[in-house]
C-alpha cells in the first residue's frame, strides 16, 4: 500500500487546502480512518457489505466481438456495472458510511454531478439509517432528473446549488461549505479520489477492491497479468481503484482516459491531465483546467461523470512519474463506442466507461494474442439512454 506522506502528498500533489474550520475534522477523519484500516473487523464488515449488498466480486468478462475485427488480444472487462446501483461509486460510499457509523457521525453529506455518487451515498445512508443530504448543481438536477428521483425515493434530501457553473464543481464547493457548518455531527462522503487529505487516499483504498479482485481474477482465468489496464478518469476513483491493484506490477501499463469533449485543442473538454495545469482545487494540489488568472474553467463532456475540471492528486503524481499515461477520447468517439459495444456485447456501458472502451479498441489494434487488455467498465449506461 503506497500511502501519501504524512501531509497527504503524493510527490508534489495532494495536501490539504481547506479552511481552518475543517482541519480538525480532517484530522479526526484521518485518525479514525487509520484505526479502521488497522482493524480487521472493519474490513470484515466492509467486505461483507460489498458481498451481500453490492454483489461483489464483480465478474471479469472477455469480449467476444467488440474488437475481434482489429485484434486477437483478449479484451477483458472488469464489470463494475453489475454492482448494486450500477457503478463503482458504491464501493467507496460503503466504506465511508461504515467509517462514519464507527465514528458516531449522525448524518451523511455528499456532492454529486451525474448523480451516481449521490445515489450511492443515499443508498448506503438508507441501509444504515443515516440521513443523507446531497448537493447538486441546478443544471445537473435538470440534466439528471432520474437520479434525483432515485435519491429522493431513497429518502435523501437533494439540495439545488445555484451558484457558479451550477454543476459538480460548485456542488462540491457547497458541500464543503455545509460541512464546515455541521462538521461535528456530519460525515462528508466525497465521491472520488479528490479533496483534501485523507480523502484521495481513503477513497482509493475503498476502490482498491476493484484492482485486487481483477488481478486475482485475471491470474486465475488467464494465468497471467494484463499487459494494459485502462480506465476512464473523471475525478479518478475508478481508475485509481483498478490501477492500485497492479501498482507493484511494473510491467503492467496504465492508461487513464479523460474526456476529450469536442477536442482538447479547444475549450470544451474536461481533460485536466492532458490539457490542464497544476493548481489547487477542492482541497488539494493537482492538475486542473483553469484560466491564466487561476480561475477554474467551465468544462464540457457529454458524460456528466467526467465533466469536472480537477483530478485526483495521485493521478497527477502518476502522470509526472510516468507510471500511467493519460489520453483522451472525444464525445463523438465515446458515443460511437457506446453504440458499438452495446450491439457487439449486449452491455450498455456508462458514457464515462465508454471513453475507456473507445480507447481500448484503439489500443487493441496495437496488441496481440500474448497481451491482455483489462478495462474497467465502471458503470452501466442506463442513465445515459436518450443522451446519445
Amino acid at each position: 500500500m503506497s500511502a501519501p506522506d504524512t501531509r497527504g502528498y503524493f510527490g508534489d500533489f495532494g495536501g490539504r487546502y481547506v479552511p481552518e474550520v475543517l482541519i480538525a475534522a480532517l484530522d479526526e477523519l484521518e485518525r479514525a480512518m487509520m484505526a479502521a484500516f488497522a482493524d480487521p473487523a472493519f474490513w470484515a464488515e466492509y467486505h461483507e457489505v460489498l458481498r451481500d449488498f453490492v454483489g461483489r466480486p464483480s465478474p471479469i468478462y472477455r469480449c467476444e466481438r467488440y474488437a475481434a475485427d482489429v485484434s486477437s488480444v483478449p479484451l477483458v472487462m472488469k464489470r463494475e456495472d453489475t454492482n448494486h446501483t450500477g457503478a463503482h461509486k458504491i464501493n467507496n460510499t460503503v466504506g465511508q458510511a461504515l467509517l462514519a457509523r464507527r465514528m458516531g457521525k449522525r448524518r451523511l453529506l455528499a456532492e454529486t454531478g451525474a448523480g451516481q455518487h449521490g445515489v450511492a451515498t443515499a443508498t448506503v445512508g438508507a441501509k444504515l439509517g443515516l440521513p443523507v443530504d446531497v448537493y447538486m448543481g441546478v443544471r445537473d438536477i435538470e440534466r439528471q432528473a432520474l437520479n434525483v428521483d432515485v435519491m429522493r425515493l431513497l429518502g435523501a434530501q437533494v439540495h439545488a446549488v445555484a451558484s457558479g457553473t451550477q454543476t459538480l464543481k460548485d456542488a462540491t464547493n457547497e458541500a464543503f461549505r455545509v460541512w464546515a457548518q455541521r462538521v461535528e455531527d456530519t460525515f462528508y462522503v466525497i465521491g472520488s479520489v479528490v479533496g483534501a487529505h485523507p480523502y484521495p487516499f481513503m477513497v482509493r483504498e475503498f476502490q482498491k477492491v476493484i484492482g485486487i479482485e481483477a488481478r486475482r481474477q485475471t491470474l486465475e482465468r488467464y494465468g497471467r497479468l494484463p499487459s494494459d489496464v485502462i480506465a476512464c478518469v473523471g475525478g479518478g476513483s475508478n481508475a485509481m481503484g483498478i490501477f492500485s491493484g497492479f501498482v507493484d506490477d511494473r510491467d503492467v501499463k496504465f492508461w487513464g482516459v479523460e474526456a476529450g469533449g469536442k477536442g482538447v485543442d479547444g475549450d470544451e473538454h474536461a481533460a485536466s491531465l492532458r490539457a490542464g495545469s497544476i493548481g489547487v482545487l477542492h482541497g488539494s494540489r493537482s492538475y486542473l483546467l483553469q484560466s491564466a488568472e487561476g480561475q477554474v474553467r467551465e468544462t464540457h463532456s457529454i458524460s456528466a461523470g467526467l465533466d469536472y475540471p480537477g483530478v485526483g492528486p495521485e493521478h497527477a503524481f502518476f502522470k509526472e512519474s510516468g507510471r500511467a499515461t493519460y489520453v483522451d477520447i472525444t464525445d463523438a468517439q465515446a458515443v460511437e463506442a457506446f453504440h458499438a459495444f452495446a450491439r457487439c456485447e449486449g452491455i450498455l456501458p456508462a458514457l464515462e466507461s465508454a471513453h475507456a472502451i473507445g480507447f481500448a479498441r484503439e489500443l487493441a489494434a496495437q496488441r496481440g494474442a500474448d497481451d491482455l487488455i483489462l478495462v474497467n467498465l465502471s458503470g452501466r449506461g442506463d442513465k445515459d439512454i436518450g443522451r446519445c
Partner: protein, 265 residues
C-alpha cells in the same frame, strides 16, 4: 502598518473596525469609491477580496459578489493595481484571496508585487497553518503579514501553533461554517475562546464571519482587538455603483464603528 492600526484603536479604547470589500464588485470604480468612503468613515484596516471562481469558505453573499466581480474581469492583477492606486488614501489593506490565483500568479511574484502595491498582507482562507509555510515565508521576505485563522473547531494545542505563526493579527472565526449573515455566532463560547487565545498571545485578535450589527459588535465585549464585517456590508451596497454605493457604505458602517467604541471593558 497593521500593528499600528490595532495599536491606535487599542489606545482609543476601542476595537479596530475591519470592513471586507470584494474588489471589482460590480466594477473597480465602485470599489475605489467604497474604499475611500471606508477610509473617511474611520476603518482601521480594509480586507480587499480577490474574486475567485470557487470560494469555498464564503457564503452566498460574498460568493455572489465574487461572481459579479469576475464578470467585470477583475483578477489578482487588477486588484493589486487598485490597491496601489488607493494606498495613499486608505488605511492598511489586507488582501483576502484564495490560494489558486496566487499560485498561478506565482507565490514569489505575488509577494513582491503586493509589497510594491503597498499592501499590508494577505489572508488566504484555504491555506491553513499546515500549508502556509512557503507563502508565509515569501510574504515575510517582502515585509508582508499573513494573518491565520482560528476556528471554533480548532483544538487548543493547534490554536497555540496558529497564533504563533500568524503575523499581523489572528483571524478568529466566530462560528462554524462560512462567511455570511445567515446565522449569528454564539457569543458565550466565542468569548471563552477569545479569552483563551488572549492567554496565548499578544497579537491582535480580529473576529470575523457572521457579524452584521452593532449588537454583534457589542456582544464581543471588548475581548477582541478587531471586528471584521463583510457580507453585511456587501449586502448594504449591493446593486449600487460608485458614489451611490459609497454613500450606502458610509451610512452602514457608522453605527458599527460607533459600536466598536461603545463597549466598556
Amino acid at each position: 502598518m497593521l500593528e499600528d492600526a490595532f495599536e491606535r484603536a487599542r489606545g482609543e479604547k476601542r476595537m479596530a473596525f475591519i470592513p471586507y470589500v470584494m474588489a471589482g464588485d460590480p466594477d473597480l470604480e465602485t470599489t475605489e469609491a467604497i474604499l475611500l468612503a471606508l477610509s473617511d468613515a474611520g476603518a482601521d484596516v480594509i480586507e480587499l477580496g480577490v474574486p475567485y471562481s470557487d470560494p469555498l469558505a464564503d457564503g452566498p453573499t460574498i460568493a455572489a459578489a465574487g461572481q459579479r466581480a469576475l464578470r467585470s474581469a477583475t483578477h489578482l492583477r487588477e486588484v493589486l493595481a487598485l490597491a496601489s492606486r488607493c494606498r495613499e488614501r486608505c488605511p492598511p489593506i489586507v488582501l483576502f484571496t484564495y490560494y489558486n490565483p496566487v499560485y498561478q500568479f506565482g507565490v514569489e511574484r505575488f509577494a513582491r508585487e503586493a509589497a510594491a502595491a503597498g499592501v499590508a498582507g494577505a489572508i488566504v482562507p484555504d491555506v491553513a497553518l499546515d500549508e502556509s509555510a512557503e507563502l508565509r515565508a515569501a510574504l515575510q521576505a517582502q515585509g508582508l503579514t499573513m494573518p491565520l485563522l482560528v476556528a471554533p473547531s480548532t483544538p487548543h494545542p493547534r490554536a497555540a501553533r496558529i497564533v504563533d505563526a500568524a503575523t499581523g493579527f489572528v483571524y478568529v472565526v466566530s462560528r462554524l461554517g462560512v462567511t455570511g449573515t445567515g446565522n449569528a455566532p454564539d457569543f458565550a463560547p466565542l468569548r471563552r475562546q477569545l479569552a483563551s487565545l488572549r492567554e496565548l498571545t499578544d497579537k491582535p485578535l480580529a473576529v470575523g464571519f457572521g457579524l452584521s450589527s452593532p449588537q454583534d459588535v457589542r456582544n464581543l465585549g471588548m475581548l477582541a482587538d478587531g471586528v471584521v464585517v463583510g457580507s453585511a456590508l456587501i449586502d448594504a451596497y449591493a446593486g449600487a455603483r460608485a458614489q451611490e454605493a459609497a454613500t450606502r457604505v458610509r451610512q452602514f458602517v457608522a453605527p458599527l464603528i460607533a459600536a466598536c467604541f461603545l463597549v466598556s471593558p
